[in-house]
Amino acid sequence: MRVQVKLYATLREYAPSNTEIGASFVVEFDGNTLGELVQRLGFEIDRAKIVMINGNRVVDMSTPVNEDDLVVIFPPVGGG
């Protein structure tokens, strides 16, 4: 299936090298769940601290991902 992915902060290095900040890129993968998508992207699951699928926050790595979903992933961040 094909999904759109956005990676931010320290995870940006796992995006294709010329991806602009805040831009999404297409990922094709065989799995069904968020956890499998993260694996496909190539970083450890606990680095995917804050995940939003189509703008909604999800915490369960077994959440299903569907064709054309927009999956946004952040590492642990803080500030203020």
Partner: protein
């Protein structure tokens, strides 16, 4: 031995006092709020002689405890009419702590009609009140350079700029950074710069020559605590090292600063943009922490060592988390502004619909130079946009309006420094984002309701740092909250407000919270270092609540009631896209936060 310096500006006198028993374990915010509550007449006019200006380094300032050099300033706020504590990094907390000063209490004011300006120079066992008319009416970049020439001992400097000298309610208290290249270390909020201006003080200059590192009562415990905290901070992905062992970017704050939040709030739909009318901004990525990181790398590549650009910059000596940065001019590689942090990039960028990094940095530099709080000034500019004087998104227009503030006779210049509420009302705006007269910061309370509870109920006026529930609500620190309704917002906000008050007293930077709320060893390290320093155990929540009690007592005596603990109406009636939600926490829930206090 710690002591208190009392200054009376009505006769330019000063005296030294021993720290009284009741203030023995109080420092930072605990000290300033206790003094303001006890000694300031609650109904006094904040910009006349009966208000006081109180300064106190955090308890552990000047010691080797990591990131512990924060300074608190307090007074009755001209912006809110209530009590105010604001805190910042810079050099002053370290300098004062090393010469044994627990607090400076400034009372009185020169007689009305007096035209002279003064500065206070504090040294070990010595204080001078000097006439410095040549320091007034100057941009602060120039002023701090001049002061370091006049006093070549690398002193800490805090003070007020042109805005404070003209008693404007957007005026913050500036502080010089460790390199003295930027006056951008602001105890920004509440208009406290104007309180200094009302006392005819431009600068407070602290020289630690001959001073020494404060000594803990129980050194072994203090050392054990600070080392454990240091270790926890270093290995946490938010507060940790710049790169991991394999050379990959690791610590979020060091790599991207606080402005790492720009993109996440945007994606979460909680980033207030264009005067709190949307939760998303399509220019957010261009002014985010990631964009600053890229600009710094690019500039360093082009200009090498000549580049005045950095991330992982420390705002005070001894900060290990180093969230600060130095943003360069892209063309020359020279310093444009330091720091550009999240709240400022939001207030002067997102909130105005300005997605051009250069324009946002320029607005921030102007605020630093004029002595303005970036959050209040940004929201005030948004009122000019709501009121139709400038268009949303017009960076050059906003810069031009802010530059008017240098002029002595420009009504527009006064208006941009007058505060969000004053400017909004003057321009017929009905959606003015303030609580107790102070403008909201960078989190919309409609999708993120816990922070809305903090904005409404803190004594400080809308202030995110007073109880940073964002950590739990958005960032997943201390519990993972998927549905914001699942958590009792009152409880969450109260717990954060008490812990925050404690941290603000210790001198630790509030950002240690990202680590210690996640890591029990880090938390114990923090309390061990504090208890070891004092030589006795204090309870975090109890100590924090005692501070909040002082602050609430002052506001009550100044005429505040629970009716003041409310958000403006439009947050309840205008749904915020993209989630199209309103702030629906009931008044009863808000009042439950501090019931019985």
């Amino acid at each position: 031995m710690s002591k208190i310096l009392r200054i009376d500006m009505s006769d330019l006198s000063h005296k030294w006092e021993a720290v009284p028993k009741e203030y023995e374990i109080l420092a930072g915010r605990a000290f300033t709020s206790a003094v303001v509550n006890k000694e300031v007449e609650p109904m006094s006019h904040p910009l006349r002689e009966n208000n006081m200006f109180v300064i106190s380094p955090g308890l552990l300032a000047g010691t080797p405890a990591p990131s512990s050099g924060r300074l608190s300033v307090g007074a009755k706020s001209p912006l809110t009419g209530g009590i105010k504590e604001a805190n910042a990094g810079g050099l002053t907390a370290d300098r004062l702590a090393r010469i044994g000063i627990r607090g400076i209490i400034i009372d009185g004011a020169p007689s009305r009609g007096s035209k002279d300006w003064y500065s206070i120079v504090v040294r070990k066992d010595n204080c001078e009140i000097v006439k410095t008319n040549n320091y007034a009416d100057k941009g602060l970049y120039e002023l701090i350079g001049k002061i370091w020439k006049d006093y070549p001992v690398k002193p800490g400097i805090i003070g007020c700029g042109i805005a404070g000298q003209r008693l404007m309610k957007c005026a913050g208290v500036f502080g010089n950074n460790p390199e003295n290249t930027d006056p951008g270390r602001y105890a920004g909020r509440g208009g406290l710069g104007a309180v200094l201006g009302s006392k005819r003080i431009v600068a407070i200059i602290s020289d630690s020559t001959g001073g020494e590192i404060p000594t803990p009562k129980d050194k072994e415990r203090f050392d054990r605590g600070r080392k454990a905290l240091r270790e926890a901070l270093d290995k946490h992905p938010v507060t940790g090292k710049l790169t991991s062992d394999d050379g990959k970017p690791f610590g979020g704050l060091k790599n991207y600063g606080t402005n790492i939040l720009q993109n996440i709030l945007n994606e979460a739909g909680g980033l207030p943009s264009m005067g709190f009318s949307s939760g998303r901004f399509d220019g957010a990525a261009k002014i985010s922490g990631e964009a600053v990181h890229e600009l710094v790398d690019k500039t360093k590549k082009k200009f090498g060592d000549a580049a005045e650009a950095s991330y992982a910059h420390a705002c005070h000596p001894g900060c290990v988390m180093r969230c600060s940065n130095a943003v360069p001019y892209e063309k020359t590689g020279k310093l444009h502004v330091s720091p550009l942090e999240y709240e400022s990039a939001w207030a002067l960028g997102t909130n105005l619909g300005i997605g051009v990094l250069h324009d946002v940095a320029e607005l921030n530099r102007l605020c630093n130079d004029l002595g303005l709080d970036t959050i209040e000034a940004g929201n005030t500019l948004a009122m000019l946009m709501e009121g139709g004087l400038i268009k949303y998104g017009d960076g050059p227009g906003a810069i031009k309006a802010l530059k008017e503030a240098y002029s002595t006779d420009s009504a527009l210049g006064r208006l941009v420094c007058s505060g969000t509420q004053t400017a909004g009302e003057a321009l017929g705006v009905t959606r003015i984002p303030v609580v107790k007269g102070q403008a909201l910061p960078a989190y919309d309370p409609r999708p993120i309701r816990g922070i809305g509870v903090t904005y409404a109920t803190t004594t400080m006026g809308a202030d995110h740092t007073a109880g940073y529930t964002i950590a739990a609500e958005i960032l997943g620190i201390k519990g993972t909250v998927t549905d914001p309704r699942a958590l009792n917002k009152a409880e969450l906000s109260r717990a954060f407000q008490a812990t925050t008050a404690y941290i603000d007293a210790t001198g630790y930077c509030l950002f240690i919270a990202f680590c210690i709320l996640d890591d029990d060893d880090g938390f114990k390290g923090m309390t061990d270092s504090v208890n070891g320093f004092l030589g006795k155990d204090i309870d975090v929540t109890e100590y924090g609540m005692a501070i909040l009690k002082n602050e609430r007592a002052f506001n009550k005596n100044a005429g505040f009631t629970e009716k003041d603990d409310r958000l403006p109406e439009f947050f309840r009636t205008e749904p915020l896209p993209p989630h199209n939600v309103t702030f629906d926490v009931t008044d009863a829930e808000l009042d439950a936060v501090f019931k019985g206090m």
